[in-house]
Symmetry: C2
Subunit: 383 residues, 2 copies
């Protein structure tokens, strides 16, 4: 499984020495065609890393031949020299593979504000190119990990074609993408416009609804490549369905591996007047530190849910709000409902349902609890 | 000092048995006049507690004779019965003091979603009325504490008149007021319109710029009363200055006593195109969990500051941003500046300056670091 599940792709992951740990840190994904269409979405953060600025331009024409990814350094807030480092990386990949630098997507992840050790990185690119293999997807997925505790891959096999993907991301996970690098591949025959539509449809309801810690990254990149190697032309809906399936599995894996988290929390908002209202409410709850601490403590503190809902501009009447936690309606009509001691929060997964009673729209946003371990990991990350 | 610093006020604080700890939990502040003008501001949370709904009506006519406050229960999300409890409390205070129930402000703080034990509360009101004293301010300040570790009072003495105040609040501190109850008194001669202008001017730059944990409360109330007992008529500016001085001291005390915090962080945004831009940027930094964890860990992680700034719509060019932490310009022109290891984050107070280079506006928002103790206190609060 992973990015080499579809035909027409090779991948690899190697140790370049960017990480102090000595774990793999450079990955390469190459599209051998016959098609080389691509689409991508990037972070909405205005302070964007050099590889994001570069890769936006690369995919603007709907073509990409390769993706090079490194962990061990984000190359963000590194100014013009950092951009030159990204450019040089793309040129080096292009030279080794015999493609154009303008068709090489570059992704970086790690600490912000430090230059990459270019000699090691470029040597790593050479090693990664030498190691490219049709079953190299898992190695690539391992090489993009930062604080991830496990590689994240997914696949969706369809009739004669497939979609595969890999992701990294364990912190700084917030909407408008999480802190994550994601490569999704397919061997379906589809043009760049189809890819773009499928990818935007998929990210809107998957990665964009992960909000682990409310912190938006400078480096988020999700790229979708097609080789067309299956020879099977697909309809828009079929492509979007399969890409969404892979993205949903990867997004769920990001939540399950979020830094220091003890619980994965699905915040489901129902009966909203609009999807935008539902999203606003779900995000407000998902970002409420007090609620997240309560879940960590096994405390079904629905008052904190209501206090978060109350900060939004969504349509609702406070006196009709219902909140259900793991099947127990602890808040009914804005007041005390069933006995809160009936709620069992011992399992990893927690399901909170907020009923706004204002319409028919609904969404689910995934978040995590706020724990001692989150504080520990994020107070010690760079030291 | 405190609410009984100005002439014309009596106050008290007693043990009513609302708190399991047996600490004081009912406070009373009475304005003996000759004037009884009042102004107040309340939480912007749409899920507002019963005492907030009640007290909005009380001060709408610009008059209040007394404020009754209880800790040990927020009376929020308690529906119509909760509102009746508040109404009954005001009527009881009115009966004991010989004033109108419609002139009694009610404030509550504590756990959301539970009814108050009315028999104990009303008996506490009787005891508080019996204990009213011209030097009762400190006792009242102690009786409104929840997770506060110390009572919070302030005063500003001017030529022949004074302003005094008390506050509680240690968590759920966010803009549009912090989770806090504040009573400010003055013996200046000023009408209700003057009080309202002075209070709004003061809260806009003090309590509204405290953002300890991004969580907006259901119960926030700041009320300002004047007895006129000094006989000194004051100009608008003089009143606003003194009220702001007292509110600023109380707001700073809230930050200094925030739940589990190890650092008080002043996020100062300079050279913004507008005050609104500066505020948006300062709040984005103040609410960034990763940045707050880094400060806890003594890590001058300016990349997280820039990542937070980048999520805003404020006017700036990412390549000209500067960030200074405790005097060291760690980020210059959007990239690496002075050596980050020069930053000393060992002191309680941390000063972060973000220069947007887009104009002349600036603000400072106070927040706290995100610590193990914050997680602990807020995962165990109700259990």
């Amino acid at each position: 499984m992973s990015v080499t599940t579809p035909r027409g792709f090779r991948a690899s992951g190697v140790v370049a020495g960017l990480k102090a740990s000595g774990r793999p840190d450079v990955a390469l994904v190459v599209n051998d065609g016959p098609d080389h269409h691509a689409a991508a979405v990037f972070t909405a953060n205005r302070v964007e890393a050099a590889p994001v600025t570069w890769s936006r331009t690369v995919v603007a024409d709907g073509r990409a031949d390769a993706v090079v990814l490194n962990s061990g350094g984000a190359n963000a807030c590194t100014g013009a020299p950092g951009f030159q480092d990204t450019h040089r990386t793309a040129e080096h990949v292009a030279g080794v593979l015999g493609v154009a630098a303008g068709d090489v997507v570059v992704c970086s992840t790690g600490l912000i504000g430090e230059r990459l050790p270019m000699d090691r990185l470029l040597a790593g690119v050479d090693a990664a190119a030498a190691g490219l293999a049709a079953d190299g997807g898992p190695a690539a997925a391992e090489a993009i990990m930062t604080t991830d505790t496990r590689p994240k891959t997914a696949e969706a096999r369809r009739d004669g074609w497939a979609v595969g993907g890999m992701a990294k991301g364990a912190g700084m996970l917030a909407p408008a993408l999480a802190t994550m690098l994601v490569v999704v591949t397919t061997d379906a025959v589809a043009d760049a416009g189809q890819l773009d539509r499928a990818l935007r449809a998929a990210t809107r309801t998957t990665f964009d609804r992960v909000d682990s810690d409310g912190c938006m990254s400078t480096n988020d990149t999700v790229v979708l490549l097609t080789s067309g190697a299956s020879g099977v032309a697909v309809a828009d809906d079929d492509l979007a369905e399969a890409v969404t399936a892979v993205c949903a599995e990867l997004a769920r894996a990001l939540v399950a591996d979020a830094e220091g988290a003890h619980h994965d929390i699905a915040v489901e908002v129902r009966s909203a007047a609009s999807e935008a209202d539902a999203l606003e409410v779900a995000r407000a709850v998902a970002r409420n530190n007090l609620f997240k601490c309560a879940v960590f403590g096994g405390d079904p503190n629905w008052g904190r849910v209501l206090a978060a809902v109350g900060t939004t501009a969504a349509a609702f009447d406070p006196s009709t709000l219902d909140v259900t936690m793991n099947g127990v309606q602890v808040c009914r009509a804005g007041g005390v409902g069933e006995d809160r001691t009936l709620v069992d929060l011992s399992a990893r997964e927690v399901h909170v349902v907020v009923e706004l009673h204002a319409g028919d729209a609904g969404v689910t946003v995934w978040t995590n609890d706020l724990t001692h371990d989150y504080v520990h990991e994020n107070s010690a990350y760079s030291t």
